[in-house]
Structure formats: structure tokens, C-alpha cells
């Protein structure tokens, strides 16, 4: 039985998102210490890293797939991959940046393996008029936005998630996605345009991921 099955979905409306783990531009000292301990074979040190970043990784996955069970499985897979690849982490970037890159790749692989995915928005959409979004209650609007986000093109979605929700710099997003700063900025703007079009086009409650 998976963790997702063992622990039922929480009440989405009742819970508030907690702040992401503090962001660091370089490798944090406590991350470095934990990584070195892991390399010495101290498994408990990796548990500390999991505890530190589990929420961030889970949220990336959740925003990608808009589903608690899938996000939970994917987040576990992210940490397994990270543990396996830990010897290859050189410490040139923050551990979180490296981990988020693994998370994005895991999300991409997950979606590729689950064809057909949820209908994805085309790169460009015709401009839409003002829709019903303003009438939605906040919680419902949040649900709609998450669903719309999950339909954005892969790169745009990953860029928007890392920049907007995980406070990575443009350079870190570019590093995480194997892109350039210019492309990151352009993708961010495209993502917002498409997100808006998707939301204002859809009647209330009809943005499905």
C-alpha cells in the first residue's frame, strides 16, 4: 500500500500552504554536512535532507500533476533518484536547485509514461474575453488555477512553478531546466499569458487537468 493510499487526502480548503524552505544561492552549510555524512554511509543524514525539502518537492510535483496521490509517489521517486545520484552532486549550486531539477525531470518522465496525459494547452491560444473567474470564490479559483497550471506546456509550467512558487532566481531556473536566462524570462511571460487565456476562456468549474 502506498503512502498516498494509507493517508487520505486532506481537506484542501482547510489547509494553508506553509512557507517554502529558506532559499540559498549557494550550497547551505547544513546541506553540505548532510551530503558528506550520506557519502560516509550515514543514512540518517539523508532523512534530514528529505525532511528539509519534502514539502518543496511535493509542491512542485503537485503543481505539475494537480493530484495528491501522483504527487506523493513522484516526490518519493525524486528523493530516491537524488539518493542514488548523490555522489554526482558537485556542490556548484544549491542542493535545492539540483533537487528541483530532478523533480522537474521526474515530472516530465511521469507524464511521458502516462500517455495520454491530460489535454495540454497548445503553445498559443486565441485571446479570450473576460470570463467567469472574477466570480469564483478564492478556494475554487485556486483549484481552477492549479488545474490550468497543470495544462500548460511542459517548459512553461516548469519555469512558472520554479520561479513563482519556489523563489528560484532566473539563473537557477535556467540551471535547473538546462535553459538560458532569456528563455526562462520569455517562458515565464508565455506561461502567464496562456494561464490567463485558459482561465478566462473556461466557464466556472470547467478547467480540468
Amino acid at each position: 500500500m502506498s503512502v498516498a493510499a494509507a493517508f487520505p487526502l486532506p481537506d484542501h480548503r482547510a489547509m494553508q500552504e506553509t512557507a517554502p524552505a529558506p532559499r540559498a544561492r549557494g550550497l547551505r552549510d547544513d546541506d553540505r554536512a548532510a551530503i558528506e555524512a550520506c557519502r560516509r554511509g550515514e543514512r540518517e543524514a539523508f532523512d534530514r535532507l528529505v525532511e528539509r525539502y519534502q514539502r518543496d518537492v511535493y509542491r512542485i510535483c503537485y503543481r505539475y500533476v494537480n493530484d495528491h496521490h501522483d504527487a506523493s509517489d513522484m516526490a518519493q521517486e525524486v528523493f530516491l533518484r537524488a539518493y542514488k545520484a548523490l555522489d554526482r552532486f558537485r556542490g556548484d549550486s544549491a542542493f535545492s536547485t539540483w533537487l528541483f531539477r530532478i523533480a522537474v525531470n521526474t515530472c516530465l518522465n511521469f507524464r511521458a509514461a502516462r500517455k495520454p496525459p491530460a489535454e495540454e494547452l497548445s503553445e498559443t491560444l486565441p485571446a479570450g474575453g473576460e470570463g467567469a473567474l472574477s466570480r469564483l470564490e478564492n478556494a475554487e479559483r485556486a483549484r481552477q488555477v492549479r488545474a490550468a497550471l497543470a495544462r500548460l506546456p511542459e517548459k512553461q509550467r516548469a519555469t512558472l512553478i520554479l520561479k513563482t512558487y519556489h523563489e528560484l532566481s532566473h539563473e537557477e531556473v535556467a540551471q535547473a531546466l538546462g535553459s538560458t536566462v532569456g528563455t526562462v524570462k520569455a517562458n515565464l511571460f508565455h506561461a502567464l499569458q496562456n494561464l490567463r487565456k485558459l482561465l478566462v476562456q473556461a466557464p466556472a468549474g470547467e478547467v480540468r487537468s
Binding site: M15, E17, E51, Y62, Q76, K84, R141, K185, A186
Partner: protein
Amino acid sequence: MSEHLREEVLWEAMEAEPEGATAAHLAGCADCRRRLEEAKEALAWARDASVPEPSPLFWQGFRRNVSRRIEQRERWAMVGRVAAVTALAATLLVAVRVNGPGPIPAEPALPAWSALPAVEDDTGLDLLRELEGWSSDLPLVAASDVTSAVIELDDEQGALLADAVEREFAHPEEEDL
């Protein structure tokens, strides 16, 4: 009107107050201003869309599951390594069986110049039998044992042995002297 602003520039205009050419373009281009405002609105919606926070119980189970899956993978990796070594050993064993172990080298014969004569040819044994207190009932021993016995003689016995050896192997010409 020049070309519209690129998306990259529009994003920068969202992050910081536009200046210079960008500001001038926005002042004169309603289309770019509209795109900028719509993107700002979408960003505000996106920021409001929080992810529901699972319960603390979920996170405990999450960490336990990650830990368990890592253990499983390590165990399988170990099984894989053992299987690989076993397979290699089995392959080598089969190869040796198929090709045969090769000829067993014969026991090397004593070289012709060996200082250790065979027991039946050891004339030194006769000499030792003649020594005082020597029992003829004792079995013959190998030359190496004789060597050990000689080493264990005390000074007096050693002198007696030396005299006996000298007499036995004395050169005829010397005796004549």
C-alpha cells in the same frame, strides 16, 4: 510604432519599473500595455493558488516510505553484486572444467649434485653406528635427521665425531706422512 516588446522584455517590465526605451514603448503602445497588465493579473492569480498542505501524519509516512524504498534498492543492489560475482565464479569453473586443469607437474628429482644422499647410500650412517653408545637396533634415519643429531652433540661428542670422521676419510698419502 516599432515592433512590440519581446516577451523577455515584458517579463522584466513586470519585475521592475520599466525604464528608457521599454518605458517609452509602453507609453505609446496600448497593445503591449494590455499584455503586461494581463500577465500581471495572471501572476497574481497564480500566486494565490496554494497547494493544499497534507497532514503531519502524511509526512511521517512519506519519510518512512522513502527510507524503506532506499533500503529495498540497496538490498537489491547487493543481491545483484553477489549474483554477478557468483556468475563470474561459475563461468570460471565451467571454463576450467571444459578446458581441463592441465598437466600436473611431476615431483622434481633430486639434482645430481645434491649433498643429501639417499638413506641406503648414506655412508655416514655406518660411521655413526660405530660411535660409542650407538644402538644398532635403531632404525636408519634420513640424512636431514642425522644433520639435526650432529647439531645437538655436545662439545665432547663433537670432538669424538670429528676424530672418527678424520680417521675414516683420511687421505692415504697423509697417513703415510
